[in-house]
Amino acid sequence: MKLITAIIKPFKLDEVRESLSALGVQGMTVTEVKGYGRQKGHTEIYRGAEYAVSFLPKLKIEVAVKSELLSAVVDAISSKAKTGQIGDGKIFVTPLEQVVRIRTGETDGDAL
């Protein structure tokens, strides 16, 4: 099992969710986050005060999948979240040791 953590542009969420649903992914966690990468930030000016805003709003999505689904899910996220512009985000993949569905006590593959 793998845990996929992706940072994407907020307006791409629906497209990504639809494509993962189509692949049979049953759940996803979304968090509003701020961060920076190569895109850096921008400048905001309030009357005479200029502020460099280094952290931009992004969404972090977390999806746990069976290992065999990994490459399809990664492909789906990277194609749907892509605009070709700087700041499209990143996908991180980590091994997942254990999963438990709290309601039923099912574990691992059955819990996904």
Binding site: Y46, R47, G48, Y51, V53
Partner: protein, 471 residues
């Protein structure tokens, strides 16, 4: 407030200013004039419009500009200052501003109407026309809101760092030492009936000093805006800069609320400016038209200059321009012609923008919400320009001689602008020194500033035990 020209022994010049209106029209007239119901209604409505400017208008305009952790402190300060000043106004403020001060009459009124003694439903005050009066009680209410908003305006410069206890004391001392005397100097005049029946001393005619100089201030450019702006600068300097000023971002937490506040200020300002006419007539209409046009022109000019210089027109720029335009047209509201008002609006925005961006950054003072840069500078621009745009040759209304019921006159550019400058200089000096005394006294007694940890945590929780938003 309106104006008058008083004739002094053949010298036709001198214009009085402002609001005026004195009581006891009945004492001088052979038959006591009766208030017109239309005038009275308009003044009742105007009074409530000025209240709308303060709460929620000014509170939201300022509140949106501070950080989330200090939003509630601004709302509380604005509301409580308003309440304190209203009580003080009834106890001694009205009497201090709008009665004869005997030996000190050039500077301040007396205490003959302290606790509103003698003010009842039968007493009236003269407006600017002979034989026209409004109920004195209505005038008391109308002017009460001016005292309240002027005091509340000051807090923007030291927002996010002054102790609430210091602000409460300020709300009692500052009007007493600064606002009431300046209101007296600029607006106190016993009225056209008195002036007509005391021709020998008509110019002085018991008026306050600045009025007697002929300085024009229709609705409070000097009394309200220059006055509050200077006090704000003094307060900011004595209080010191916010922790992290220039080092950490202090972006406005909600320009949405600032926009709502600016819009409410504009709506309420019709009571302020057109209400200052004291009568529901064509001059009130002129003040309304100018309050639309100068504001609109300034609201276009500010973001336009930003667009040219910085690449983007901003909402805060448009809202700041609207306020700057309102400030600038305040002294000229019933004097300028509509085209003069547009020019005034176009001119004031770039000047204020220059002060809040270039000058403030150069000098390094922390006027948090730009009270000095917008209200004082915009007020000075408006006060001086009033002496120019009032000229009938430029489409202005001229200075109407109500005493004689004659036509509009204009003493000439140089004499009128000099009168205006004298009014501005006196206001700056009185308010500067008076505010220094008030803030200085508070600083050496209970202190002006919150503790460092309070400032870091935010005034909302530390000073008031609440937050603006629980989300």
């Amino acid at each position: 407030m309106r104006i008058e020209t008083l004739k002094k022994a053949g010298l036709a010049a001198l214009a009085g200013v402002g609001t005026l209106a004195m009581s006891a029209g009945a004492a001088f007239a052979a038959t006591a004039p009766v208030p017109d119901k239309g005038d009275t209604t308009w003044m009742l409505v105007s009074t409530i419009l000025v209240l709308l400017m303060i709460v929620p208008g000014l509170a939201l305009f300022y509140g949106g500009l501070v950080r989330t952790k200090n939003m509630l402190s601004i709302l509380t300060q604005t509301l409580v200052i308003t309440c304190i000043v209203m009580v003080v106004w009834a106890l001694w403020g009205y009497s201090e501003a709008f009665t004869d001060g005997a030996g000190l009459n050039a500077y301040v009124g007396g205490f003959s109407k302290a606790l509103l003694k003698g003010v009842d439903t039968a007493t009236t005050v003269e407006t600017f026309s002979r034989g026209v009066v409004i109920p004195e009680i209505v005038f008391v209410c109308f002017q009460m809101t001016f005292a309240a908003i002027t005091t509340a305006l000051v807090i923007g410069s030291f927002a996010e760092r002054m102790k609430f206890s210091a602000i409460c004391i300020f709300a009692v001392l500052w009007p007493t030492l600064v606002y009431f005397p300046i209101a007296h100097m600029v607006w106190w005049w016993p009225g056209p009936e008195f002036a007509s029946t005391h021709p020998a001393d008509a110019t002085a005619a018991g008026a306050g000093m600045i009025w007697a100089w002929g300085a024009l201030d229709f609705a409070g450019g000097t009394v309200v805006h220059i006055n509050a702006g200077i006090a704000a600068l003094v307060g900011a300097l004595l209080c010191g800069k916010r922790l992290g000023y220039k080092q950490e971002p202090m972006a406005p937490h909600s320009l949405t609320l600032t926009m709502v506040g600016a819009a409410l200020l504009w709506v309420g300002w019709f009571g302020f400016n057109a209400g200052s006419n004291l009568e529901a007539n064509g001059y009130a209409g002129l003040a309304m038209l100018n309050t639309f046009l100068a504001t609109a022109a300034a609201g276009v000019a500010w973001p336009a200059v930003e667009w040219i210089l910085k690449g983007k027109p901003s909402l805060l720029g448009a809202a700041s321009g609207v306020v700057a335009g309102l400030v600038a047209i305040t002294p000229a509201a019933g004097f300028a012609g509509p085209m003069g008002a547009i020019v005034l609006g176009l001119v004031v925005s770039p000047i204020c923008l220059f002060f809040v961006s270039v000058v403030k950054n150069k000098l390094g003072y922390d006027d948090s919400l730009d009270v000095f840069g917008v209200h004082c500078i915009g007020g000075i621009v408006g006060a001086i320009a009033t002496g120019i745009v009032v000229n009938p040759a430029l489409g202005g209304a001229g200075i109407v001689d109500y005493t004689a019921g004659g036509a509009a006159v204009y003493p000439g550019l140089v004499p009128q602008v000099i009168s205006q400058l004298k009014g501005v200089a006196t206001t700056i000096a009185w308010s500067g020194i008076g505010s220094l005394i008030v803030f200085g006294l508070i600083k050496v007694t209970i202190g002006l500033r919150v503790k460092e940890e309070v400032e870091r945590e935010g005034l909302d929780i530390a000073e008031h035990g609440e937050r603006a938003y629980n989300m």
